[in-house]
């Protein structure tokens, strides 16, 4: 079973946050770029499926040259090949269009990705790409079982502890929920070795796309600021003992 895993490189700490002059994206300085958490779980699931059923894993990431680190991490973890799609849009419609075009260039039975990127929190690109390609899909998948060459069964979350069992014909796309497999540790030596491996790169023209058909449309970002708080939180201060005593008396009042 050949699997493509789409993983995004996301910033940890974000500073100097501003709106771009065209109002279509946020500009910032992002530090500590790392693999998006649920995408890492998608990689882990791919690793488990490969061990059981064979095949190759291709890691795909869309982004600038900095996002290449995530692909080296994927190679160190389990991927056989890596592809970077050279496009930096924050617009989910544009991103899913580009990702769908990139997937068309690759051979796969299954596409795995996460549910939501921690930076944009959109949760759209996986299902959006599947819809563009006419692939069946399932979101928030917590278990995958291969039936045969052509069929998989998955369990997906519906919220509130409810689940659905879904059967999908291959090829299909799954958005993997966190916790599907335990995360494995990648030894530093493997991470260093992975950096010797080639990373293929797709430019937009490689994918038959023109930059002018990839312009975000229909909206304008008018503000970005920390959330307004519904009410002012009352902060307790003092020694641990003072705080504990104050908390306890407030807890007893509220009982």
């Amino acid at each position: 079973m050949n699997i493509v895993v789409c993983c995004k490189s996301v910033p940890g700490l974000v500073t100097n946050l501003n709106i771009s002059p065209d109002g279509k994206s946020l500009q910032y300085q992002g530090q500590l770029l790392a693999i998006n958490e649920c995408d890492e779980y998608a990689l882990e699931e791919a690793l488990v499926l490969k061990k059981a059923h064979g095949g190759q894993i291709t890691a795909v990431s869309m982004g600038g040259i900095k996002s290449q680190d995530v692909l080296y991490y994927a190679l160190a973890k389990c991927a056989d090949k890596a592809v970077r799609v050279d496009c930096e849009s924050q617009d989910p419609q544009v991103a899913s269009k580009v990702l769908a075009a990139a997937l068309k260039q690759l051979e796969f039975d299954l596409v795995l990705t996460g549910t939501q990127a921690r930076d944009t929190l959109s949760g759209q690109v996986g299902i959006g790409a599947a819809s563009r390609l006419g692939l069946p899909f399932a979101y928030a998948v917590v278990a995958v079982e291969v039936q045969d060459d052509k069929t998989i069964r998955v369990q997906k979350e519906l919220g509130g502890g409810r689940h659905a069992d879904v059967e999908l014909s291959l090829p299909a796309l799954l958005c993997i929920q966190t916790g599907i497999q335990p995360l494995t540790f990648v030894p530093p030596a493997r991470r260093i070795r992975a950096r010797q491996q080639p990373v293929r790169s797709f430019s937009l023209p490689d994918l038959g796309l023109q930059a002018d058909e990839l312009v975000a449309q229909g909206y304008r970002i008018v503000g970005v600021r920390p959330p307004e708080r519904a009410h002012q939180v009352e902060l307790l201060q003092g020694s641990a003992q003072d705080i504990a005593a104050a908390l306890l008396s407030r807890i007893q009042e509220s009982r």
Binding site: P92, V125, Y139, G161, E167, S169, Y219, V233, Q241, I243
Partner: protein, 330 residues
């Protein structure tokens, strides 16, 4: 062009999810400001009880797509039915819940309609001449405000708890149906079964005091510190999703969108940053106390009482004080 607002009704087992009444509040307010109609769309099978439950809740009409194949339809089929119904109804905005169900449908519906989707929204309003949404980004530490172009169409997915539920009125909305060839939709996936939440050893939704632990606890061994506090206060131990994902606590203890929704008298969040998926599961608690070392953590946005500090100092001190008070009372 009509600028009607269409609200997708979320329902399961003949019952309407409470988030639908919140979407109707948002939709009604937009429809009033844009001077258009609010239409509810329910897709499924045997929808009589669903229609009856919302008929008095502020919409101008209800449109139903009822077909046996929609009783257990896969996401791709539901999305095509919703997109086709939207083409026939021709609304300007489609409001969908940003629940796990809505998160699967929204991008597919938007792609099929060829429109933008604005997801994870905590507000939508008509402001300065434009429909404007508010979306948390960067782990919910920032909110971005996005104004939609006039006459642009979009699917807007709203977080649970963003709006109060709409009140019932005496006006009863008429029920319409649209004709869609559901059986003719090619499906490459199918839902085999739906399983309700398994009953665990403990029901955290019944507790008056919930003491909840997050990723900030660091290791599995240290969870006992929080368990001791829960016991000393006569409450139950719960947690946020990351704690379950790494296997430190069982899933029945999880509070949040994919876990349980709790409304205890007192909710104590220890080392929980407050991702929106967690907040939707506990923000209606009577009194929320947050202990976190990061003063900017979103949990302080919903907490009534907060401690910015080290939970490994505060929690044991609170446990000790609670035990002493209990010994004194006994």
């Amino acid at each position: 062009m009509a600028r009607d607002i269409l609200v997708l009704v979320e329902h399961a087992g003949g019952k309407v999810d409470s988030v639908t009444l919140q979407l109707l509040t948002a939709g009604r307010s937009l429809a009033n400001q844009l001077k258009t109609q609010l239409i509810a769309l329910a897709v499924g099978h045997q929808l009589e009880s669903v229609a009856a439950a919302i008929q008095h809740h502020g919409m101008d009409r209800i449109v139903i797509v009822d077909h046996p194949a929609l009783a257990l339809a896969a996401g791709e089929v539901q999305a095509q039915v919703i997109a086709e119904a939207a083409r026939q109804i021709d609304p300007c905005f489609v409001l969908i819940a940003y629940s796990l169900v809505g998160m699967e449908l929204t991008p597919a519906v938007a792609t099929m309609l060829g429109v933008n989707a604005l997801t994870n929204c905590v507000n939508v309003e008509f402001r300065d001449g434009a429909v404007t949404v508010t979306r948390p980004v960067f782990d919910s530490t920032q909110h971005v405000h996005v104004a939609l172009d006039e006459n642009d169409r979009a699917v807007i997915a709203l977080q649970k708890g963003s709006f109060a539920p709409i009140e019932a009125t005496s006006t009863q909305a008429p029920v319409d149906s649209v004709s869609i060839d559901v059986a003719g939709i090619p499906a490459r996936s199918k839902v085999l079964a739906i399983a309700e939440a398994p009953a665990g050893d403990v029901d955290i939704t019944k507790a008056e005091i919930v003491v909840s632990v997050g990723r900030g606890i660091g290791t599995a061994e240290k969870i006992s510190l929080i368990a001791e506090l829960a016991e000393a206060l006569g409450g139950v131990l719960a947690c946020s999703r990351p704690v379950v994902d790494v296997g430190w606590l069982p899933r029945e203890r999880q509070v949040g969108a994919s876990g349980r929704t709790v409304t205890p008298k007192i909710y104590i969040a220890c080392g929980i940053s407050g991702a929106i998926q967690h907040l939707t599961g506990m923000r209606d608690a009577n009194r929320i106390i947050a202990i976190n070392k990061d003063a900017e953590a979103p949990i302080f946005g919903v907490a009534h009482l907060g401690v910015v500090g080290d939970l490994f100092e505060i929690v044991p001190a609170l446990t000790k004080a609670a035990k002493e008070a209990k010994a004194y009372r006994d």
